[in-house]
Symmetry: C2
Subunit: 111 residues, 2 copies
């Protein structure tokens, strides 16, 4: 099996999933949290397609809340499917981090 190569690209998705594990958040809050956590350039152009993709796969519980100065805000939180996906990401990330850790600290990749 090895590392799912898709993981190489899916890091941002994994982090967003993590943010929505226990809390309802809407887009503005997600962007804010991501930036505060070191993903300084994280943008809505990345977020919205991601949210729609995950929504289509049933990863969210969604709540629409009227807003005083805008269209209703769309709040997201993980569903059971979403938690499963987060779990898979977490496993994959640990595996990847270990592979790279091995390669970079010590034996230079010799078997």
């Amino acid at each position: 099996m090895g590392i799912d190569a898709q993981l190489n690209k899916g890091v941002l998705e994994g982090c967003v999933l993590k943010l929505l594990e226990r809390e309802f958040l809407f887009s503005g809050e997600i962007v804010e949290r991501m930036r505060a956590n070191g993903f300084a350039d994280f943008s809505e152009g990345t977020l919205y397609p991601m949210l729609l993709r995950l929504e289509k796969e049933g990863c969210f519980e969604i709540k629409r809340v009227p807003s005083p100065n805008s269209p209703p805000k769309k709040y997201y939180k993980l569903s059971a499917a979403g938690r499963k996906r987060l779990e898979i990401f977490t496993r994959q990330w640990r595996a990847l981090a270990q592979c790279i850790g091995n390669l970079f600290s010590g034996e230079d990749g010799n078997a």
Copy 2:
């Protein structure tokens, strides 16, 4: 600045650069080492475009060695530019790993 988003895709490249830091290796050996290090599905279809890309950017010192049963083997090892690129990757990887580490262990991303 934050994390270079390109890093999300460039993990395999970083690992290949690491393998070639101090040693001349040709394609077959690179694939073998990558697989032995946990990237079990690593393939030549990924490797060759990567090597050509990096070669164009001057990241390699290259040695061609005749082979008894094939076209001459092409051995790669990092040039000064290659080592610089590896260094950048290493920094970026550490930053990314720390961001994710923060997010996943403990405070759930609250600021």
